[in-house]
Structure formats: structure tokens, C-alpha cells
């Protein structure tokens, strides 16, 4: 039995799968630099397994999603609408934005929250070629000494961290691997 349709690839057992995926998302956000596997969803290309599973877990009809660049296809839109009901919005209103680093630039177009409500900011899901525990040096909450993560653009992320408590949070996905970078993490280029 392998009848495929544009809606295939949701969680097989939604409560359990979503709980596992949510736990993974929480863990990587709490421990910046840690790389975990996140599975459950089988999204249509070009969305990666990790990004698809994360969207299934986090999105609902109240969260605006911005699909950047090549990710913005009819197949992805239909799949996401069927499984989550999330509305598609422009970059400046997005709660979640998905795309490669280049398609998401410039970072300034996303919401960074307000002084009263720093949580009203965008979370960016960045599709990467590869994720390695090497490269930039991370320090801050959730990291014992230092952590390493291959980040796409250190100056832009340093500027984002400098805005703390405002700013965006990031998930980095590649295949079924996921890592995260909250705005509270300090970043140093390798040195």
C-alpha cells in the first residue's frame, strides 16, 4: 500500500509524534548548539524532514507562516494548510519563517517583538546544507562552557543577539537534524 497524494506525510500518530518532536524542539532551544534528530513528518520537497516535522508541531491556525524563496510552492502550501491550517502571511507579520539563509535575508524584515512583549517576534527556521558542531563559538544560558555550531552568517546573528531581549530566534535544519540558536546566546567567530 503506497497510495501517495498531496496530503501524505503527516504525523502517523499525531499526539505521540508531536510530543516527541516538541520535546526535541524544546531541548535544542534550551541547549543551543546541540544537534538532535527530529522526525515524524514526510513533507513534500523542497522542505526538509526536520523543517516539516517542526512546522507540523509548532503551527496552528493562529500562527502566520512565511515561506521564503524556493520553499514557497503549491505542494508545500497545500500540505501545510491541510495538516496545520496555518495562514500564509508576509515576512513582516510572520510568527514562523521558513527558507534558506539567503532567501530569508534581510533579517530586518522580521518582527523582533516590543519592549512590553518581546515574545511577539518571529522564529526563523533556516534550511542548511549541513549542520556540524564546529565553527562559531557559542556561550550563554543553557551552555556549560562553550558550544560550537556551523552558523551561516555570524555578524548578522551577533547583531540579533545584541538586541536582546528583543530579536528573532532560530532553528537550523538539515535533513532530519535540528539545532537552535535563541537570541540570548552570545556568538564569537571561530578564533
Amino acid at each position: 500500500m503506497d497510495a501517495q497524494s498531496q496530503f501524505s506525510g503527516g504525523f502517523q500518530n499525531a499526539p505521540i509524534d508531536a510530543a516527541h518532536a516538541f520535546r526535541t524542539a524544546m531541548t535544542v532551544m534550551a541547549r543551543p548548539g546541540e544537534i538532535r534528530r527530529i522526525t515524524g513528518g514526510q513533507p513534500p520537497a523542497p522542505l526538509s524532514l526536520a523543517a516539516g516535522s517542526l512546522l507540523l508541531t509548532l503551527c496552528d491556525p493562529d500562527t502566520g507562516v512565511f515561506l521564503a524563496g524556493a520553499i514557497d510552492t503549491d505542494a508545500v502550501r497545500q500540505w501545510l494548510t491541510f495538516h496545520t491550517g496555518a495562514p500564509f502571511v508576509t515576512a513582516d507579520q510572520a510568527d514562523f519563517a521558513v527558507g534558506t539563509w539567503h532567501s530569508l535575508a534581510p533579517l530586518g524584515q522580521f518582527r523582533i517583538g516590543t519592549a512590553e512583549y518581546p515574545d511577539r517576534s518571529a522564529t526563523l527556521i533556516v534550511e542548511c546544507e549541513d549542520l556540524r558542531p564546529a565553527g562559531s563559538v557559542l556561550t550563554g544560558p543553557g551552555i556549560r562552557d562553550t558550544a560550537h555550531l556551523s552558523l551561516p552568517d555570524v555578524p548578522a546573528l551577533q547583531a540579533n543577539a545584541a538586541r536582546y531581549p528583543l530579536g528573532c530566534d532560530f532553528f537550523f535544519t538539515s535533513g532530519d537534524k535540528i539545532a537552535a540558536l535563541p537570541r540570548s546566546t552570545q556568538i564569537r567567530a571561530e578564533g
Binding site: Q4, S5, A14, A75
Partner: protein, 152 residues
């Protein structure tokens, strides 16, 4: 992508509405009689939730919230890739599954058979119940006749 616009939407609305309101025992009986049940895969397993039913009084009335209704929904795909949605009243997952299967089959070549063996008899039975109830109510109707009032 399967083209679902071939079936006129109003027609699909009719059978979806009928399946949503159908009493479970009658639907199950007709479905069992039909036989030849196709194999399918879940796209969305049956899940129970509530929807707000809205109403209007009259053609120009503003919409108001009538109340919440428990609804079970599911989506499945047949072997040939045809997608069926089931949205039914109540919390019977089995009924939602059958409704989704019928919805999928109604978009395939077996539509005429399904219509003849399930949809039409189901509609007739539900109409019969409605008519019987209306007849019972009509029997209790009281006619009032106003006498000519002597006002002059």
C-alpha cells in the same frame, strides 16, 4: 495532483451534508450491504473536536452563534490516489471512516453504484423519518377560527 474540481461542488456538498447528518446505524447497514470495500491509507486519522454552528434569522439577519456541535473528521486516500474527507456529527470514528470512503468513491467511476446503493436509499430513509415526524406534528395542529367581531 488529483483534479477535484471535476465533481461539481454543490453536488459534493449534498452528499457530504447527507453523510454528516446520517444516523450511524442506517449508514453502517447500507455500507455493509454494498460490500466490495476498497483498501485505503490514512492521511488524517479520525479525530474528535467541536465546531461552532452559526445561524441567521431570515435572509437579512446578522449571523449568531447557535451552539457547539461535536464533530469527528478524518481524511484517507484510496489506492488510486483519490482523497476522501469525512466530517460527521457525533464521536463515531467508524462512521467518519465510512463517510470518507463514500466521499472518495463518489469521485471515482463507482460513483453511480455508490449513489444507487447508499446515497439515494440513505436520503430516502432520512426523508421518510422527517416526513413521519412532520405528519405527527401536523396531526396535532389546531385551527382557530375568528368569529366576526361585533364592533358596530
Amino acid at each position: 495532483m488529483t483534479d477535484q474540481t471535476k465533481t461539481a461542488n454543490s453536488e459534493r456538498q449534498d452528499w457530504m451534508g447527507l453523510l454528516a447528518r446520517a444516523p450511524e446505524d442506517v449508514l453502517m447497514e447500507l455500507w455493509a450491504e454494498m460490500g466490495g470495500h476498497p483498501r485505503f491509507e490514512w492521511l488524517r486519522s479520525p479525530e474528535v473536536g467541536g465546531v461552532m454552528v452559526r445561524g441567521r434569522t431570515g435572509g437579512t439577519g446578522a449571523p449568531f452563534n447557535l451552539g457547539e456541535v461535536t464533530v469527528t473528521r478524518c481524511t484517507l486516500v484510496l489506492q488510486d490516489g483519490m482523497v476522501g474527507h469525512g466530517y460527521v456529527q457525533g464521536r463515531s470514528k467508524r462512521k467518519a471512516e465510512v463517510a470518507a470512503l463514500i466521499d472518495a468513491l463518489m469521485q471515482t467511476e463507482s460513483a453511480d453504484e455508490v449513489r444507487a446503493r447508499v446515497i439515494t436509499p440513505l436520503g430516502c430513509r432520512m426523508q421518510a423519518v422527517k416526513t413521519a415526524r412532520a405528519a405527527k406534528a401536523a396531526a396535532t395542529k389546531v385551527e382557530f377560527f375568528t368569529m366576526a367581531r361585533g364592533e358596530n
